[in-house]
């Protein structure tokens, strides 16, 4: 299996440890991983701002960089969703179609492709999961409270099987964190309030480590956690699954 690792632009620049954890985790699971150095970004930032057409060179660059792999694995539900959903505006060549179908979010890759249900990790903390909207409602990686009262999903299924872990039960299981790409600055007041409300839900219910499969949500929530000087630690799911220390 020929696997490429796609490290989203902001993760590359600000959260290299998440990229490293992802790489190490995949290697531990026996996967040989390639990191194409030409990679940059999925193009979502311009597209969400209303400039999808300006994203086209970035889409083409992405396709060119990642053509020929069996899977393109990324520790971001949002970027994977963008490639799958929104690369429909460029010509659907075989390469484009393949890249769109083979781009996959890290946790889905672990559970659905590698069929790994459990990881040999001990994590004796109270862990709060932030369900990202693009992973959940976009990629359908988790149930949604609009449809069912049952909370389930791929990330949760892996977390549940970790030794020593205690999962936080939130008042609102799957409300958006308020990051939303450029929304986080163009609608700063609402974005911040949404983030503060999410963080407070975790604080009230005892979360020690806040995690999720999307670093963009976590970047926003971490920004609030650090501003409020809370004791809570924010870690990407790859870091927990890789056995990183808190």
């Amino acid at each position: 299996m020929k696997i490429a690792l796609f490290v989203p632009c902001y993760v590359d620049q600000f959260y290299p440890n998440v990229g490293i954890a992802t790489l190490q985790l995949l290697e531990k699971l026996g996967v040989e991983v390639d990191f194409p150095m030409e990679q940059t970004c999925c193009g979502q930032p311009m597209a969400n701002t209303g400039f999808e057409k300006d994203s086209i060179p970035v889409y083409n660059h992405f396709v060119k960089t990642f053509t020929g792999y069996d899977y393109i694995v990324t520790p971001s539900g949002s970027c994977a969703y963008h490639v799958k959903k929104h690369y429909n505006i460029i010509e659907q060549t075989t390469a484009v179609k393949e890249v769109r179908s083979k781009t996959i979010e890290l946790v889905s890759f672990i559970t659905d492709v590698l069929k790994v249900k459990e990881l040999p990790v001990t994590f004796p903390y109270k862990v709060g999961l932030h369900v990202s909207c693009h992973g959940q409602r976009g990629l359908k990686n988790a149930t949604a409270s609009e449809i069912t009262p049952d909370h389930d999903g791929l990330v949760l299924s892996l977390l549940k099987n970790i030794k020593g872990i205690d999962l936080t039960v939130l008042n609102r299981n799957d409300e958006c964190c308020g990051f939303g790409g450029s929304f986080c600055v163009s609608e700063e007041a609402v974005s911040a309030k949404m983030g503060i409300d999410r963080v407070n839900d975790h604080v009230k219910n005892g979360t020690q480590v806040l995690t999720g499969a999307d670093m963009s949500c976590l970047m926003h929530l971490e920004g609030i956690v650090r501003r409020e000087k809370l004791a809570m630690k924010v870690m990407h799911i790859a870091e927990i699954l890789n056995g990183n220390k808190v």
Binding site: Q13, P57, I147, C184, V185, E188, I196
Partner: protein
């Protein structure tokens, strides 16, 4: 003023924002409970969506069928191309009957057409009889929600308004006493009314009748007391058959307020002996929307308001921040159809979380349409040139790994070496108002990879 500006003003009173959010979240939870207990709820949504899809595909035929049957029932049918025509038709009917006082219920369409101020200019007194609508009418405000028009107000606010207008004791905030005061006040208006205006929830082509759903019974009271009934509807309210109605009545109240059904589901088919019944069918931009491939299915909307209750942005910005008759996610995809420039901030008043699409009882892909409106706005001249240029630069940088690595390094170095007071300057960097920037790492992932792999 843009949505974000209005929203930031709304958020200045953080306690009230929290209260607003929690109040509407409570309604969303009531909706969830009602949806979960119906095993076939998702099939109902599919069915409702398909019925509307079918109806929109042959709307002209169903509208004409409705007209034929309504005429047979002795109902007058009028067609209005826009708000102005709608208002003039209503005025003409009222003038014919020398009506000076009218009672109104359940009509977002008349809000859309700004009927009240128009009639008042012609010396006709309009009283909104839905409790919430009456409250905001007394306060001279617009509705902040399509189902719960006064949801932005607390009982204390209502108490103060009623004290000023209905002479309730100062400081009275008991909901039951306040409601009773409104009842007594409205009874008088009902009895005096020369005509009754209602909206329409569903118009049935097969029978030529209109259906109005209320919880207060005010539509019935108005219509049954007055000599003239005028029902105003946007043309998308049509459904083909009487049998289709049950699908929608099962979904409407559950999605809206978490009730199994509205207290009153009133069918109006023909006028009482000696009375007159009119139906005004309004276009007002709907044909244009119907012609838009990406957006036509927004006309499936049954105005339940579930997308507002679930929207984390609506709950934290309030209906007035949308500055459009229909606020929230659905309003943000309906409004650009009418005036792209004026409403250009609305499709951006969303994180695209998709919750609206998941609660919508007729399965409108609201968040997908928000994204698509953004593209149309991006291509129009509605956004500043500086934004357009910055996107072009960003595109260049992100399409080249060299430029990307270089800019990334520059950015990180700047954040690292500039003083905190500059990187976190709240007037320059909105991110930093409530959040810290990420801590700058020693190296990017790709730098680490080059060194270690």
């Amino acid at each position: 003023m843009s949505h974000s500006k209005k929203a930031s003003i709304f958020n200045k009173d953080i306690e009230r924002t929290t209260w607003h959010d929690e109040t509407l979240w409570f309604v969303r939870q009531k909706r969830d409970k009602m949806a979960y207990v119906i095993p076939e709820f998702q099939q109902l949504r599919d069915l409702a969506s398909q019925i509307k899809e079918h109806t929109l595909s042959q709307l002209d035929e169903y509208l004409l069928e409705f007209e034929r049957n309504a005429l047979k029932n002795g109902v007058h049918v009028h067609w209005a191309a826009d708000a102005k025509e709608h208002n003039e038709i209503v005025l003409k009917i009222l003038k014919k009957h020398k009506a000076k006082k009218i009672v109104k219920s359940k009509s977002m369409l008349t809000e859309e057409c700004h009927l009240n101020p128009f009639l008042q200019q012609h010396a006709i007194k309009v009283v909104d009889t839905d409790l919430g609508e009456r409250i905001i009418q007394l306060r001279d405000e617009a509705p902040s929600h399509i189902v719960l028009p006064a949801i932005h107000l607390k009982k204390e606010d209502v108490g103060e308004t009623f004290h000023q207008h209905l002479n309730t004791p100062k400081g009275e905030k008991d909901p039951q006493r306040l409601t009773e005061a409104a009842r007594q006040h409205l009874r008088e208006k009902f009895v005096q009314a020369d005509a009754a205006l209602t909206g329409v929830n569903f118009a049935i082509a097969e029978t030529g009748s209109v259906v109005v759903c209320t919880n207060e019974g005010n539509a019935d009271l108005g219509v049954n007391l007055a000599k003239v009934h005028i029902a105003c509807m946007g043309f998308e309210k049509i459904i083909p058959r009487f049998n289709d109605l049950s699908v929608f009545t099962r979904l409407l109240a559950r999605s809206a307020t978490g009730q199994p059904i509205t207290t009153y589901t009133s069918h109006f088919t023909k006028p009482r002996p000696g009375a007159e019944m009119h139906v005004v069918i309004v276009d007002n931009g709907r044909t244009q929307q119907l012609g838009r491939e990406d957006f036509y299915n927004s006309l499936k909307c049954i105005r339940c308001g579930a997308c507002m209750n679930t929207c984390p942005v609506y709950r934290r910005s309030g209906g007035h921040s949308y500055n459009f008759t229909v606020p929230g996610p659905i309003g943000s995809i309906l409004s650009p159809n009418l005036d792209l420039k004026k409403h250009s901030s609305l499709p951006f008043a969303s994180t695209l979380c998709g919750s609206c699409t998941e609660v919508c009882p007729v399965k409108i892909d609201i968040h997908v349409q928000l994204y698509k409106w953004r593209q149309q706005i991006g291509e129009s001249n509605a956004l500043p040139m500086s934004k357009k240029l910055s996107m072009k630069v960003m595109s260049k940088v992100l399409a080249s790994s060299k430029l990307f690595s270089f800019s990334g390094k520059m950015g990180r170095t700047m954040i690292k070496w500039l003083p905190y007071s500059m990187t976190h300057n709240k007037s320059v960097n909105p991110w930093a108002k409530a959040r810290e920037l990420p801590e700058v790492p020693e190296h990017s992932f790709r730098e680490w990879y080059k060194q270690n792999k």
